[in-house]
């Protein structure tokens, strides 16, 4: 939970900036085991090990980010907002952290991205979480500023899927990060060295070069060839002006716990939107961007 104060000296920046200090935290929601609830069945996929160096770096920054790891027992209600479904409790889970990192299978149906939950209350069997219908990210009583969705198609470029999936969910959150097309994860609990390296590099650079650039730069990969398949990271924001969209993608950085930080203010009803991505990026399961 952070405290925010606005100083008069920063009045001219007040549209987008505030001074904040205090504690920050990360919530990890990693759906690795898809065999627990038969109705949400899918193959297992692993990510926990790939995030350990990311988390260690964050935990050692300033007075340290706190973290909560929730591996496997991620239920539908952790991800769904109560304003969308009466049983939703995301305010107490994914939205209660400054950063939420979600791993899970993902797909597209009728032009909308869905995250496949691995747990749901029996009888409800709510295994597909659609951001446009189930999420309401960042209203004033929650903390979330940045959502990272490590999932195939989470920011898919085809047929305006990114737009129709995420715009309805933007209500104060600063940026959402995902992938166009299919992305890589690990087939074993040991993780994958280069994915782990990329997440640590993402944490490092997000303090000095900005979060969006760091995401797009460090998560870009191409496969072992010869007919290359790319990993296509995307950063997405919604703000009050185009200039502010440009500004937040260029300059917003992770705050350092225990220090005074310049942070962007929440925009609850954005009017402009902007995506950052690699021109021509061509993944498996999607066309070139």
């Amino acid at each position: 939970m952070k405290r925010v104060l606005c100083y008069s000296v920063l009045f001219s920046l007040a549209v987008f900036a505030a001074v904040a200090w205090g504690d920050y935290d990360i919530g990890y929601y990693l759906m690795e085991n898809y065999g627990v609830d038969a109705y949400c069945n899918n193959h297992n996929v692993y990510m926990n090990a790939n995030l350990l160096d990311f988390n260690t770096y964050m935990a050692n920054k300033g007075t340290g980010w706190d973290s909560t790891f929730r591996v496997n027992n991620v239920y539908d209600y952790h991800l769904v907002d109560s304003s969308k479904q009466t049983w939703g409790e995301s305010d107490n889970y994914t939205e209660s952290h400054d950063i939420a990192i979600v791993l899970g299978h993902g797909g597209i149906t009728s032009n909308k991205y869905y995250l496949q939950a691995n747990r749901s209350v029996q009888g409800r069997d709510y295994c597909r979480i659609f951001p446009h219908a189930d999420m309401y990210l960042g209203e004033s009583d929650v903390d979330i500023e940045w959502l990272i969705v490590h999932s195939c198609h989470s920011m898919d470029d085809e047929d305006y899927t990114w737009r129709d999936s995420w715009r309805p969910a933007f209500h104060g959150i600063h940026q959402v990060f995902g992938f166009h097309g299919v992305t890589w994860a690990s087939s074993t609990q040991a993780g994958t060295t280069w994915i782990r390296e990329n997440y640590e590099a993402f944490a490092q650079d997000a303090y000095v070069d900005g979060i969006a650039d760091s995401w797009v730069f460090n998560m870009y990969e191409t496969d072992i060839g010869p007919d290359d398949v790319d990993q296509c990271p995307v950063a997405y924001t919604g703000r009050a002006t185009l200039a502010n969209c440009d500004s937040i993608l260029n300059y917003e950085k992770f705050p350092t716990p225990g220090q005074v930080n310049i942070v962007y203010q929440d925009v609850y009803s954005p009017t402009y939107w902007r995506r950052r991505f690699h021109g021509g990026c061509d993944p498996q399961g999607g066309g070139a961007m």
Partner: protein
Amino acid sequence: MRKTCWLVVAVTMALMPCVAAGKETCVDIYTLLPVEDAESQLFADALTLDLDIAEAENSTTPSGWVFFETAEFRIGRKAPTGDFVFVDRVVADRAIESAGPMKTNETMERRALEMMDAVSLPIEEIREVEFHRVVDQSEDFAGDLLGEPETTGFMFYGSRQIDGYVVEGSRVKALFDRNGDLVVFRSFWPEHSTRPVDCVPVVAEATLRTQAQDVVESRRGTHEITFFKGVLGYSREIESGRFTPSYIFDYSLDDGFLLRERIDGRR
């Protein structure tokens, strides 16, 4: 997205020693040279890059990174892999209006290669280079796209080969701002002995592919498998002390995540 393949020449040149020696097909084995003292290496890097670290703040991470940081830059080295990073904080934070003349693509590529050279990464080990734009696309309230995507930066990506064999996960990246000035340079490129310490016979690639497909099959369960591709290359796990010939392959289950595994390629 433009890609330049440097592989053909490299393969031709690299396979010559084994053939010339009259041996059966074998792959040269190199010893990995770990960076024992990342801080000392970083002093040398700073000197080469003409960076003044007299007033720099020093920090370390549990994973082995050592950083020197000032208001102008940040450089880091990781032990024992030798991974390297440089961030120009002035370029990262400046308003683009304050930038000088726009750089050409050739100038940016040359800058990336100069950085490789400066931190002792052998350019002849580049397998393939990609160079492409990073862009922003804006949308209005109604959801309509506003104009064409705007260039906000440029990306250089180089993959690695040794003796014509891919080194899995070894790569160099450089990010330039929209004016073409270097913002970030990163390398994952562990150094190896200049001469091979051994040359080991490898399993035929077709056989390795079959073995890899068997591994994938064992993961099948009730799921559909797509086997994408595999190559005989080197794995670069520093713990092993050597670049080990491996068959590296990508597959997916139910058209989901891409998954990469490797099996030992030695006979």
